[in-house]
């Protein structure tokens, strides 16, 4: 077709625009989009729109981005192309003092210092006990490897799939029949199968409000390591609102992951609205049954700026869907600590395990709890 080349150019460029805006648009998708446009009426804008969207986008949270890009590119509507808006929002986060910036500047200091800190066995011990709030940049870097080891422990559930296992409890009939051929149909040999253990879903909600700031770095490292243990882990951060961090944390390099997190979280170091954040979680993700059968881990000091009653209500909903709820509160590391904060008090009745999370030792304890957690008996 004569107009073909123009269309190809148009779609290829549009694909590039989407790609820069953060959508994963490979050549395969662009080829699909062209094939799709080939079979619809190009004069109908709606059909062109859906053809492109259905071939180029594969996630619901990308639809909005696509829609804006489409109107900017094809309709020349007076909106900024998404690439620019994205840069703009990045600049905004960087203007405020973001933790990533602080981390980055600390990284520079480390480089200036030269060798990373070497620690002996006793150093390890000290480091394990040291409150995260008091860690230096060097120590944090060292703590990182230890955290990754701790995060390897994941809670398990039984899969429905069965694999051959001599200590199994169910008969492997297919294998038995095959073997019984040798004995005239008598099942002399009885091969067994057993269910395998697979990791249980884990959902982590991490408070990054101002009062948690000194712990947020270490806990994000922990989150990053946990997400790295495989699929079935979802991570969120909240202050005044909820941000999903799973895609950001999926980067292998912890520094890059933390940077991307701080860009994604708009309300870093802000006040806390635990109840509202939990409600957002229940509404958006709980409805998708993300929390069903999962272990939900909440990391927060429980300081609620607004109504503690809302915290209680939303915790009740969450606890009903979850397999178990674990609350980590760094303040609990202090022996004198009493859960007096309103939000914390409202939440406690729905919490199965209440743990500190202020140093490495307490993270080890947390990992052990997560690995061996039992379904609570009474709600």
């Amino acid at each position: 077709m004569a107009a073909g080349d123009a269309i190809v150019g148009h779609v290829v460029t549009f694909g590039r625009v989407l790609h820069e805006a953060g959508l994963e648009v490979g050549p395969g998708r662009v080829a699909d989009a062209l094939r799709a446009l080939d079979s619809v009426d190009l004069a109908r804008q709606e059909d062109v729109f859906f053809s492109l969207r259905q071939t180029l986008v594969s996630r619901r949270d990308e639809l909005d981005l696509f829609d804006r890009a489409f109107s900017a590119w094809f309709l020349r509507a007076p909106v900024l192309p998404p690439v620019r808006t994205r840069h703009a929002s990045e600049t905004v986060t960087r203007v405020g003092e973001s933790p990533s910036e602080r981390l980055r500047s600390q990284g520079d200091e480390e480089d200036a210092d030269g060798d990373p800190l070497e620690l002996g066995a006793s150093g390890h011990e000290l480091l394990r006990e040291k409150d995260f709030a008091e860690l230096t940049g060097d120590e944090l870097r060292h703590v990182r490897t230890l955290i990754a080891q701790i995060a390897q422990m994941r809670p398990q559930r039984l899969s429905r799939r069965r694999a051959a296992d001599s200590r199994g409890t169910s008969l492997d009939v297919r294998r038995m029949i095959r073997r019984s051929l040798r004995t005239g149909g008598d099942p002399v040999d009885r091969p067994l199968r057993a269910r395998k253990d697979v990791p249980r879903k884990l959902v982590v909600l991490c408070d990054v409000s101002g009062s948690m700031d000194s712990y947020a770095r270490a806990l994000l490292l922990f989150l990053h390591a946990v997400v790295g243990t495989g699929r079935g882990v979802e991570a969120f951060a909240f202050g005044t609102r909820l941000s999903r961090l799973t895609p950001e944390l999926a980067t292998r390099d912890p520094d890059a992951a933390l940077d991307r997190c701080t860009e994604a979280v708009v309300d870093w170091g802000s006040g806390t609205r635990i109840g509202a954040s939990l409600r957002e979680f229940n509404e958006v993700y709980g409805k998708r049954a993300l929390s069903r059968g999962a272990i939900v881990l909440i990391v927060s000091d429980g300081w609620e700026r607004e109504d503690p009653e809302l915290v209680g209500r939303e915790m009740a909903k969450l606890a009903r869907a979850a397999y178990a709820v674990v609350w980590v509160n760094p303040l609990k590391g202090n022996p004198q600590y009493q859960p007096l904060a309103g939000g914390m008090r409202a939440a406690l009745p729905y919490v199965d395990r209440f743990l500190p999370g202020h140093n490495l030792r307490s993270l080890e304890e947390l990992a052990a709890v997560l690995a061996g957690i039992e379904r609570r008996h009474a709600a």
Partner: protein, 294 residues
């Protein structure tokens, strides 16, 4: 049945009492033309499964449905050997005369949905329902089947599709699916229909319902979706409710009848409690106003 354009397919779906929005018609049309699977996502009750049924109807194809669940395995999705029959056969035959090949032949094979769909001579629409509930291992296996449209049974060899089934996957997004699977499929998000369309759907699915009742019921459900509910009602609920209201011989909506029948729209106790007394009366008022303003 072949369709030359989106309009043609849309017309046929309408004749089959399914009213798709333009985006869904486009997705189904492209699925047929490009022979690619479509992934339909959306809230529960927006008609994802219905779309597959309607497509099968208009294509004159057989609908084969694979309902996914946690722990779904090859034995339940693809094939299984008929062990009791095999054992009986060995027992009945003279000792030493049964060869392994005859025992693992087609007559002892129990065919499950995926094998049925691949090994079919008639046209097939394969509905893989709620894929997000299956394990990731199964998803990976499915990806393989959907790329080659062939299934290997160690004892019998490889079976390839003689005609590719139209494939519809649905997901309620309880988890993100693998990118590889998503890349292979067209993606369409189904939202709640517009008021006009929902009224039309209710009138088609509840024969004999007075127009005013259909319109007020649809408007009321729309109001409900605006509230903070654990499970906002889908189109399926609107249809159920329309049937209930129509069976009661109602011509229009009032607070009394809504209170009596609310259980067919809202399925959670907390949700029903949220919509009581003043809220309920207010919503009825707003729904009637919205319906009258059409």
């Amino acid at each position: 049945m072949e369709f030359g354009s989106i309009d043609e397919l849309e017309g046929a779906l309408r004749d089959a009492d399914y009213l798709p929005e333009r985006g869904l018609s486009t997705a189904l049309y492209l699925a047929l033309v490009l022979s690619k699977p479509v992934l339909l996502e959306g809230e529960a009750g927006v008609g994802k499964t219905e779309a597959a049924k309607a497509l099968a109807t208009v294509l004159g194809a057989r609908l084969i449905r694979l309902q996914c669940y946690e722990g779904l395995d090859v034995a339940h999705a693809v094939y299984e050997w008929n062990y009791p029959r095999q054992l009986l056969h060995i027992r009945a035959a003279q000792e030493g005369t049964v060869r392994e090949e005859e025992l693992f032949g087609p007559e002892y094979l129990i065919r499950r949905p995926l094998l049925e769909a691949i090994d079919s001579d008639e046209p097939v629409v394969l509905l893989i329902d709620e894929i997000d509930r299956a394990d990731e291992e199964f998803e990976a296996f499915l990806l393989e089947v959907l790329s080659d449209f062939q299934i290997t049974i160690p004892e019998l060899g490889t079976i390839s599709a003689r005609r590719r089934p139209a494939v519809i996957l649905t997901s309620n997004r309880t988890r993100e699916l693998h990118d590889a699977l998503k890349r292979r499929a067209l993606f369409h998000w189904i939202g709640h229909p517009s008021l006009e369309r929902e009224i039309e759907i209710v009138r088609i699915r509840v024969p004999g319902i007075p127009e005013r009742l259909a319109s007020e019921a649809a408007a009321f459900v729309r109001e409900l979706r605006g509230l903070d509910l654990s499970k906002p009602p889908g189109v399926a609920e609107t249809i159920d409710w329309g049937m209930a209201l129509n069976a009661l011989g109602r011509k229009e909506l009032d607070a009394e009848v809504v209170r009596q029948t609310l259980g067919s729209v809202l399925k959670y106790r907390e949700d029903i409690e949220t919509v009581q007394d003043e809220t309920l009366s207010r919503l009825v008022g707003e729904a009637r106003a919205a319906s009258a303003a059409r």
